[in-house]
């Protein structure tokens, strides 16, 4: 059954999280993500879950990993400076393979920047913010409705691949209020198995081609969890072969499952010779600009990355093979642009960029102007 309600993006995130089974939230207030903590504190006890406001973002990240280790689906939410503080423990969650969801409602940076202004400046930090090679899944919603469903998807991917998942929102969507229609009928939830405290198997054991350790956090209580390189029983090791195999598996479990993980949207691309690439809140502006340009006879379409990491590489490359021009539009100095430049391999396809870093929102006319500037 579907129901229509007026909701803010941040609130939709909490509603989705609870639907996905979140029963623990730890956070520290920061604009423009604060409503997520506020909503979580209001809603969680009503479903028997727990909320805690920690002393900082390092602690919040640590707390949600701790909770997830004992079988409770967990989330934290933050913005800019707080996202920086979470990075070390995000790496821990990658290494120790702890499912959890980190929401970053981006704001303008660096440093305290423009706290209430929209930005998409954490694209690269969301991918590479923690030290060392590591896998990462990052999703970016473009509407309040999508925030609800993508939050659920973030939890599901976290459980399926036993890894932290980042929901990279922006102020545009976080603070947007719109009527949303929720239809939970088709929503699938990946449940954490109940902890069977007596089963004693090696937590990180994988057999053959298995990329995700099936026993890990699924009922085996008594083993070690560490951020150090470790063997099947989670005990630290200096053995380079074991360490190498672990690192390779961690990367492969995401890389080799891209088909399952990656999602994107194409809008009016069928006959397009020009494609505007975007993600998150920018997509709303781009879609409007595309419609405006179409009215003036320009053959232009939009390619929106929903899973921004891993990037929709194959689809974008395919598209770039048949268009003359790609315009990357994002609220930063050109971060996803770097990824698009890496992906596109067609010398006849020109890549242009429109970005903004002054805390204002790009308007459709600005995008339209770039579309029309056929050089």
């Amino acid at each position: 059954m579907s129901k229509k309600v007026l909701m803010q993006g941040n609130a939709a995130c909490v509603a989705g999280a609870i639907k996905a089974g979140m029963r623990f939230f730890a956070g520290y207030p920061i604009t423009p993500s604060t409503e997520i903590a506020e909503m979580a504190s209001l809603k969680l006890p009503t479903v028997g879950g727990h909320f805690i406001q920690m002393e900082d973002e390092l602690a919040s990240m640590a707390a949600i990993i701790g909770a997830s280790c004992v079988g409770v689906k967990s989330m934290t939410a933050t913005s800019g400076p707080g996202f920086s503080l979470k990075q070390e423990n995000i790496g821990y969650a990658c290494m120790a393979e702890i499912p959890c969801v980190i929401v970053n409602v981006q704001r303008s940076g660096p440093s305290t920047g423009l706290p209430t202004s929209p930005s998409q400046g954490d694209v690269m930090q969301s991918r590479w913010g923690t030290h060392g090679d590591h896998p990462m899944i990052v999703l970016s919603p473009s509407s309040v409705t999508e925030t609800y469903y993508l939050t659920i998807r973030a939890f599901n991917l976290a459980e399926k691949y036993k890894t932290p998942v980042i929901l990279l929102m922006d102020e545009i969507i976080g603070h947007l209020r719109e009527g949303i229609e929720i239809n939970d009928e088709d929503v699938q939830i990946i449940e954490r198995n109940k902890l069977d405290l007596n089963e004693n198997k090696k937590g990180y054991e994988v057999s053959g081609d298995e990329l995700v350790p099936s026993k890990h956090l699924q009922g085996n209580m008594k083993y070690n969890i560490t951020g150090l390189s470790h063997g099947f029983d989670g005990f630290p090791t200096n053995n380079n072969k074991v360490a190498g195999e672990l690192h390779e598996r961690l990367m492969k479990k995401i890389d080799e499952n891209k088909d399952d993980i990656v999602t994107y949207q194409e809008y009016k691309t069928d006959d397009a010779d020009t494609i505007v690439v975007c993600f998150g809140g920018s997509a709303r502006i781009v879609a409007t600009a595309v419609d405006m340009a179409r009215e003036e006879g320009y053959k232009v379409g939009m390619f929106r990355a929903i899973t921004i990491w891993p990037s929709p590489e194959e689809a974008l490359r395919k598209l770039s093979e048949r268009v003359k021009r790609i315009i990357v539009v994002e609220h930063n100095y050109g971060q996803y642009l770097l990824e698009v430049q890496r992906i596109v391999n067609n010398p006849n396809c020109k890549i242009d960029f429109l970005g903004k870093v002054d805390g204002t929102v790009i308007i459709p006319d600005e995008v339209l102007k770039v579309i029309k500037e056929v050089k």
Partner: protein, 272 residues
């Protein structure tokens, strides 16, 4: 007795530990395990959490669910575990640097909240793992590899810091007086609220060598000969307490426990 404890609680295949000969960590770990055994804690309902450091390696040797976390964050991880599943016993094992330098903020806030976890502070007055740098508990005037001219910082008293922050059970133990220290740990685990037992550790490799404290036996003998009870320490001036090893309960009091208070909220607002 020790071998029985090893059989029952240790990951035998990973022994011996990585610690230096004469390190006090093994003694303190034995006290922790003895206290767990005395209390008959359910191994399957007890989670051991540690940070990063020589002492934090202790967790990995125990056959429980063990979390060897990030440097300084053990108490924050533990807070998440206890908050999410209050029925679990949560014990933190970490060093003085881990708990009072990089993790100082988490320690005082966990104490303030009075969440029912037990922290064992392995205080060897130095950063052991990284090779002997001075820590927040290195006495003024002592040496470390980053205090080659003597430490000019004023040290923390971890127990008093926790007490000041609101910890409802605080005690100090040492490596020599194992019976007393074990009892203090036992009482701390039993206590319903935030408890911390600061144990004077022995690091002959770095603290001992840098400060000419002799070998492990000399350092243990020092603890034996300079021990005073917590009550006796109370009557002494700061000057008189210098160099003394205090063993005993610093405070124990009742205060509403965090997860029980939260349960009251759940009982009130949960949609049945």
């Amino acid at each position: 007795m020790a071998s029985k404890l090893i059989e029952k609680y240790f990951r035998y295949e990973h022994l011996p530990q990585i610690w230096c000969q004469g390190c006090g960590n093994g003694i303190i770990l034995r006290d922790v395990v003895k206290a767990i055994d005395d209390l008959g804690l359910d191994v399957d309902k007890t989670v051991i959490v540690s940070g990063i450091g020589c002492s934090s390696r202790a967790a990995g040797y125990l056959n429980f669910l063990t979390l060897h976390t990030t440097h300084g964050r053990a108490v924050a991880f533990a807070t998440g575990i206890k908050m999410a599943r209050p029925e679990l016993n949560v014990i933190v094992l970490a060093g003085d640097g881990d708990l009072s330098a990089i993790g100082g903020n988490h320690l005082i806030h966990a104490a303030r909240r009075n969440i029912n976890i037990t922290v064992i502070a392995f205080n060897n007055n130095i950063y052991g793992m990284t090779g002997g740098q001075y820590s927040p508990t290195t006495p003024t005037g002592d040496y470390g590899t980053t205090a080659p001219y003597g430490n000019i910082d004023r040290p923390f008293d971890i127990a008093l810091l926790a007490k000041g922050a609101g910890a409802t059970y605080v005690a100090k133990g040492d490596c020599f007086h194992v019976v007393q220290t074990t009892k203090l740990i036992r009482d701390g685990i039993k206590h319903n609220g935030f408890s911390i037992i600061e144990v004077a550790d022995v690091c002959p490799t770095y603290y001992g060598r840098k400060n000419k404290k002799g070998n492990a036996v000399d350092m243990m003998t020092y603890q034996k000969e300079n021990m005073i009870s917590a009550e006796a320490a109370l009557a002494m001036s700061e000057e008189e307490r210098k160099g003394k090893i205090i063993v005993g309960k610093i405070c124990e009091n009742d205060y509403p426990e965090l997860t029980e208070e939260y349960q009251k909220i759940i009982d009130r607002v949960m949609v049945k």
